[in-house]
């Protein structure tokens, strides 16, 4: 699949986006999806100091924590955008979490073997027009809150 990127935000519109968590999901195959932060999620988190993940083999439900993140003295859960079993996590990102800030779409966090891919992908945002509109609205909201430079 060829990634189609937005010129300003660098959004890869071929991916699926979780509106609650600002995580992206990329289908690698029917058995494997990857997920990571979308650019707004990474930017509004601030400098990411640390990430940790539940071990491979852990079963997670959509909305449950698959790991934890520290940024700007905040520690919070990373909530799974799809249900399934954790296959592996990205050791490179665990060792250098700042890579997420540097290029969030190039640096996935975990791979999941999904349980109900078709159903749960339907709950995520997908398609260039919808994603573009959502990102524009979210960007405006974050700018209003002072979390992004105007």
């Amino acid at each position: 699949m060829t990634a189609q990127k937005d010129q300003t935000g660098g959004i890869d519109y071929s991916r699926y986006f979780d509106r609650e968590t600002h995580l992206w999901v990329k289908t690698m195959s029917r058995e494997v999806v990857r997920c990571g932060f979308d650019p707004l999620g990474a930017e509004t988190s601030g400098d990411i100091v640390a990430v940790s993940f539940e071990p491979p083999g852990t079963r997670i439900e959509r909305g449950a924590a698959f790991g934890s993140i520290e940024a700007a003295k905040f520690v919070g859960p990373l909530l799974a955008p799809v249900s399934g079993s954790i296959i592996r996590h990205n050791h490179e990102v665990a060792a250098e979490p700042g890579l997420i800030n540097a290029d969030p779409q190039a640096h996935w966090m975990i791979e999941i073997e999904p349980d109900a891919l078709d159903v749960e992908l339907g709950e995520l945002l997908h398609g260039e027009e919808a994603v573009r509109e959502w990102f524009a609205a979210e960007r405006k909201k974050f700018e209003h809150e002072g979390l992004l430079a105007t």
């Binding site: 509004t44 601030g46 400098d47 990411i48 100091v49 640390a50 940790s52 449950a64 924590a65 934890s68 520290e70 940024a71 700007a72 003295k73 905040f74 520690v75 919070g76 859960p77 909530l79 050791h91 665990a94 060792a95 250098e96 979490p97 700042g98 890579l99 800030n101 540097a102 809150e145 979390l147």
Partner: protein, 391 residues
């Protein structure tokens, strides 16, 4: 005044006071209280405020810090200093009768960003300090400062159930020498310069009000501060049996468990230094790096009073990503042109040079030796003092 968006009949918070708690119990009870604020939400109050003190002394590292890089374990063992790991982020701290622990637990407000939540909750601390006649302000990396000196460190932990814990350590009083012994800052053992440098960057309630105070002496000012800032009443309460049961479980599985306390990040911390020539003399910049994050930056030089610009720069750079572009952006945003008598890109270049040396040490897997704390990084770098000055 800040609204928590709860119905008015619920504008009574539970209020808890505890003193002389152990590191394990102090942290376990804070998290146990969170159970009532998860999705099931069984708590009878919209929030619980706990103002408490730890026994002398406890050393608490941040959620992802490397214990050995932050704490002098030998000193702690010899002097009965209990060590713990917080659920919140940030740097290592010392807690005892001189530091007021603040734990505010509530249901997280939907769609509120951590940064906004921290500022909102910090209004209670600012209100408490104000009632003592101290004007404090929020500064970039989630600390409260008084005239450029840190007086309180803030942290936030959100669990997967949507309960939120706001943590603060208010420096009511601080034995700097003791703190320098507990945290890994060996420069203090060679001279009293480190004490002076800490005192230039940190202040206490005692110092600001001009009399020695213990945390219990001023606790009521902070409960009043929270009540006024959130327009609520505080109702004296107790920890429930269920919460104690959760706390005992957490003490066993987490806060008193060596595996939790001693967990490590994939990379060791490291440090580096660089020098910068300015019209006012040479500045030496020390950078402590955790993974690829600047965990501490210290700028020293031959000045009688620490320039405000330097304190501001150190604070802004702490916990920022250690790469040249990010350092340049943060430095440019923090300093006015020629604040230090040189362009800010020269300052950023020197900071990056110090950080780069630290990162190279990490990659070379060289044991970094002693390192810095949230108050003060180690003043002796791996690079020699005779390295070429930047121009």
């Amino acid at each position: 005044m800040v609204s928590l968006e709860f119905p008015s009949q619920l504008d009574r918070w539970r209020y808890l006071e505890h003193d002389g708690v152990s590191a394990t119990d102090g942290l376990a009870v804070d998290e146990a209280i969170m159970y009532g604020y998860g999705r099931e939400r069984t708590a009878a109050w919209p929030a619980t405020l706990r103002l408490y003190t730890y026994r002398a002394d406890c050393a608490l590292v941040g959620r992802y810090q490397n214990l050995d890089d932050e704490i002098d374990a030998e000193f702690c063992a010899a002097h009965g200093v209990e060590v713990g790991r917080r659920p919140t982020g940030g740097g290592a701290i010392i807690m005892g009768p001189g530091q007021l622990g603040v734990a505010l637990v509530a249901r997280a407000v939907a769609d509120e960003t951590p940064r906004r939540a921290l500022k909102r909750y910090a209004s209670g601390i600012i209100g408490g300090l104000a009632s003592l006649g101290i004007t404090a302000a929020f500064r970039s990396k989630n600390d409260l400062e008084v005239d450029g000196r840190k007086i309180a460190g803030l942290g936030l932990y959100l669990d997967a159930e949507g309960a939120i814990l706001f943590h603060t350590s208010v420096l009511v009083d601080l034995d700097v020498e003791r703190m320098l012994s507990v945290l890994r800052i060996p420069g203090a053992k060679l001279s009293d310069k480190a004490v002076e440098r800490v005192e230039e960057r940190v202040t206490t309630v005692s110092r600001e009000v001009g009399r020695r105070c213990a945390a219990t002496d001023v606790r009521q000012d902070f409960s009043t501060g929270f009540a006024a800032a959130f327009d609520i009443e505080l109702e004296d309460g107790t920890v429930s049996d269920d919460e104690w049961r959760h706390a005992r479980e957490l003490a066993e599985t987490r806060y008193g468990n060596a595996e939790w306390i001693r967990q490590r990040s994939p990379r060791r911390d490291a440090r580096g230094s660089a020098v910068l020539k300015t019209p006012a003399g040479l500045l030496r910049i020390y950078a402590g790096v955790h993974a690829q994050t600047l965990k501490s930056v210290l700028v020293t030089g031959d000045f009688n009073v620490l320039p405000v610009a330097i304190g501001r720069l150190e604070s802004a750079l702490k916990w920022c990503r250690a790469d040249p572009e990010r350092i340049a952006a943060v430095t440019a945003a923090s300093l006015r042109e020629n604040d230090l008598g040189v362009p800010h890109d020269a300052v950023a270049g020197a900071v990056w040079e110090a950080a780069r040396k630290a990162i190279e040490l990490q990659h070379d897997a060289v044991h970094p030796g002693r390192d810095g704390s949230c108050y003060f990084p180690e003043p002796t770098g791996p690079s020699s003092d005779d390295e070429a000055a930047r121009s």
